[in-house]
Symmetry: D2
Subunit: 352 residues, 4 copies
């Protein structure tokens, strides 16, 4: 079995989620690679040492270029603040590495396009991990099969509540030079990726960005209305000021033949209504969706979305097939994020 030597860049919350996925993927999937956690890169050596010991990273470095230059490394996994994504990913791709990158892919569409161009000849992935929530994957399959008929409405909210927390006012996600944007890049990017995957291209949109916090330089909330190419209307709301909601990444889709609903806080559940049934039997059903991890009824959590994403990427890699979501998918999302920002300035709809 082929070895796959991975360098992980980043030692924060996402670094933990990715380390876990790298460790767990072979436990639940018959992947055709032997993953080696070869190199961990971050800025703080003491913390790197602890993290390497905990997750079994073989080596550490405080210089991300070491990962690029490292002859033994096959894949570079980028969990750095957004402003570094483009530089690192392009360097890694040019060095012929497999490149995996956290979302949002870039600071803006221009960067994202450059990244997609640079990565054209290497396997690549953007970590829109929620595509691999089993309930969402099931929804996508049903939509692709036409089970919902013609789509009329796509309604998406990504609601978090930590925006007003003063203890988090100075994290990098609040600094535009590191994050590029606030709720838009952080939350709306997920919502848009799912929308594109589930409901297809957006033709036009009008959005608004807003900071509730005096002096804040990134958006606390991002809202948009959209029209999709399939004729449906879209509504998007991503915010860090939805007090009462810890992580409600939710959508509802209405089509001529039924309705689908999902909420990340209950990620094992898919809501479905079949409008082709007799009227007195129609009701939104709550399906407890199974997974490849455990038996039906034994639920999975947040981390499994990373593991499943990684597994599917590795299978595609083995087959030599392109994986989705990749950098091109990430760039499509970035184009829409830019459009939201633009329309927030122009206060007009924008054709895409």
């Amino acid at each position: 079995m082929r070895e796959l030597r991975v360098a992980l860049l980043g030692q924060g919350f996402m670094g933990k989620a990715h380390s876990n996925a790298l460790r767990q993927v072979s436990h639940f999937f018959d992947i055709p690679f032997r993953i080696r956690c070869s190199l961990l890169c971050g800025r703080d050596q003491a913390s790197l040492d602890r993290m390497a010991a905990r997750w079994g990273w073989e080596e550490t470095t405080t210089d991300w270029r070491a990962a690029i230059d490292h002859g033994e490394i096959d894949a570079v996994d980028i969990c750095l603040p957004n402003h570094l994504h483009a530089e690192v990913a392009i360097a890694a791709a040019r060095a012929g590495k497999i490149v995996l990158c956290e979302k949002p892919l870039a600071m803006n569409f221009a960067e994202a396009e450059a990244m997609a161009e640079a990565a054209r000849n290497v396997p690549n992935l953007v970590w829109f991990n929620y595509r691999r929530v089993p309930a969402i994957a099931l929804a996508q399959r049903w939509l692709a099969e036409g089970k919902l008929g013609d789509i009329y409405h796509y309604r998406s909210t990504y609601l978090q509540q930590w925006g007003p927390d003063p203890s988090r006012a100075n994290v990098w996600r609040m600094d535009p030079s590191f994050a590029g944007s606030g709720a838009a890049g952080d939350l709306l990017s997920h919502a848009l990726d799912l929308a594109l995957w589930l409901n297809g291209p957006v033709e036009s949109l009008s959005g608004t960005l807003h900071a509730f916090t005096p002096g804040r330089k990134v958006d606390d909330a991002a809202l948009a209305l959209a029209r999709f190419k399939n004729g449906s209307l879209g509504s998007f709301e991503a915010t860090r000021f939805a007090i009462g909601c810890r992580n409600r990444n939710a959508f509802e889709i209405h089509g001529s033949k039924g309705m689908l609903g999902f909420n990340l806080e209950r990620l094992n559940h898919l809501h479905y209504l079949d409008a082709t049934e007799p009227d007195d039997r129609q009701g939104l059903r709550d399906i407890l969706v199974g997974s490849e991890f455990w038996k039906p009824g034994h639920i999975i959590g947040y981390e499994h979305t990373f593991i499943a994403t990684l597994a599917e990427f590795l299978f595609a890699l083995d087959r030599g097939e392109p994986f989705h979501p990749n950098f091109e998918d990430g760039a499509k999302v970035q184009r829409l994020l830019d459009a939201v920002a633009t329309t927030s300035e122009t206060r007009q709809w924008l054709e895409l």
Copy 2:
């Protein structure tokens, strides 16, 4: 006890709801009037006869002017198609009648303003009956008391599913000359009235109207983003194409101190989260709200919102105080409906 002789104009579904309210109000409230169901007006005499027999209307007529000219009539209650609201209400007001009018108040803001002007000197009411859902009235009280702190987000959906039904393609609500608009006037008007009552004035908005049905001349769906004067962001979606939803008039409000949620399909319930509690105790609670009708835990239905509205109107009438929602409130909603239509054309935000 003073008699109040009422003429009801309209013999459809709303005529039934109002007849019921007129019959029931004295059973549940100590109202200071003796209601007489004096005159029922509609276009079809046979159907009028049946309805009069069923609900105990003393007389019938097929000429709405008869109600205006009738010396014995104290109050005129208008359940006619929208295009007749202005003419009838203005005539009634000029004849010195108490005037009650179904929503939306008018075909447009100009009409609504004229109605409010004409009714300035007579007691008047617009049937935004959902203000009197006990759960919504409780929410309003809590908001007025500041229980939610600074408001960040107001999210509203009014979702119905009968838009694609071919058997209803030719009802008057689908004809712009009778209805003025589609989902906007019919559904969004309710959502906007609640928003104004619960969250205060709107400063700017950008909306879009859309008909999914080829050849349809009224909107099937109306969406809008808004900024309120209190600094919060609003999101509105009203549609007859939300397959899976029978009557989901719902809102969610997030403030610095908590969250409120409501759904008309479960109108006895109010959702509330208190963000001032310790973190591990915070959860959205489902409050089964009581009413003046029956004991706690014994739920009420759709019709009780009309009865409670009427009761409160009669108490205000007795005290000689103005009632809300009245024609001025109806005109404020109409102004926003016009703004949604305007921005749907200009594709720009509009300052109000």
Copy 3:
């Protein structure tokens, strides 16, 4: 159209619910009678006067025998404390009156049998009004059609919370000489009537009655396990000490082909799972059940169960057909209530 002159005995909460049903039934159903609210009977004349004025009762009396002896009265509706049910109902039946009686039918099975015997030749009804909740009626129809296959489990809870309330410690429902029992007769009776209607006869049971309150002479809670004739297992819990639950009369039924669930606090909803569908589509669906009262999506409340019960009774009366639930049905429930009390003493299962 024939007149039906009704005497109502009782001026409490149930008297109000019945007065309302008598007033409303002709508004929503084409009943073949003209109901006259002829005589209202209670102990307190001042309160009788107020109630008669409010609901339009023509006459009042403080002597229930006046209702029996009154030559003009066609029907006697008994909303008195339980200890009077048998005497009054038997007297009314012997006088040839139509007899309607609140639940529980009697203080014990012996009384109930005597009542059923006495009423054999007059139309009669016991007010197990929850059979006419549209969602429950739909469940019953589906069960009768075999939609759930072989039944395995029937689980019933009737949960209220007012038991510890000191202000209600001395109401007649807490006095065994007036009420016969506590939660058993008040709540479990409803649960058992639904069980018998939905799931058929009980073959054996073992129950326990318990008073949490020192000195209380009626049961605060009644629990039982049961085996039904159809082979299913039953579990019953009725209590006034379920803090947190205002009026949760709920059941769940599991059969070889699916599951049904209901909760009175959301009486417009029926939960259903179809186990004959593909596994990945199976989920408990929430059906918003319509009614004969208003359009789909416009929900009804507690009071409508009385109106619908009365309507169906009147239609049966007109056709000369027996109505259910009648006194015989009430006696079947009483037999089970007695069995619960017996087994609470013997601490053994009892074959029925």
Copy 4:
């Protein structure tokens, strides 16, 4: 750091869950041991090889005694069919090993007592992993603090649906010589352990076991009523015939000061009602409970209950303190399981 060399006995579903816990515990907790997955024991060598490769077990054996006799093994983890628990655990304890054993601890109370006796001098654990669901642990803490006041009702259901599945008719769990019992040992054991932990000792009970399947020799369903020492009433229902429920291990607790509710299918959620609040604010709240694994709002799954149990066991081991649930706790559950079986025969309540 001290090494802890573990032998795992069993290669089924639980073997996978335990392997995962052994691999993951050091990733999420600063445990004071270095876990070595030393020896894996099962009956099928080919399958053992695959499982050892997947999870990194160093050695394999088909003879469980090899684990006992193995001088290097510190801890024996038993995931074997129930009939082997006693023999293996006693042998391991006598050999001085740390012993961890799946639930139910034994085939009956006599075995369980012997196991607890034999393990008195070695650290031991029974895998009632649901105590470490964060939501349940929070409930336990609140109950211990008296947040619910005097407890009135404890209602427990453990509902699964695979009982009628013909493909599973011959698994060892359906064979009394391997499993001892059916739903009782498998499901009711979990429910009883939680009840004892959350609500204290049971004083008396009356239960019934039932097999719906002709010829089945273990119970498909186990129901019981109980009285707890704290004065509360208990209701238990465990079944494999609850069609529609995949894994609904749920409880509701009502006390003088509030209510708690839980359902394993939504294991990240705790339901709580505070009855000390003003009446109009009382509602069952849905708390999304956090964990030590990820950030708030990032949910965990089934497997994390094993990891958390193991972590807490290791911390107790390091401190030299007894851990709960241990074999004595397992024996207490077994005593109640025996009582349910006894009363199912005698059809009488049993004092404990």
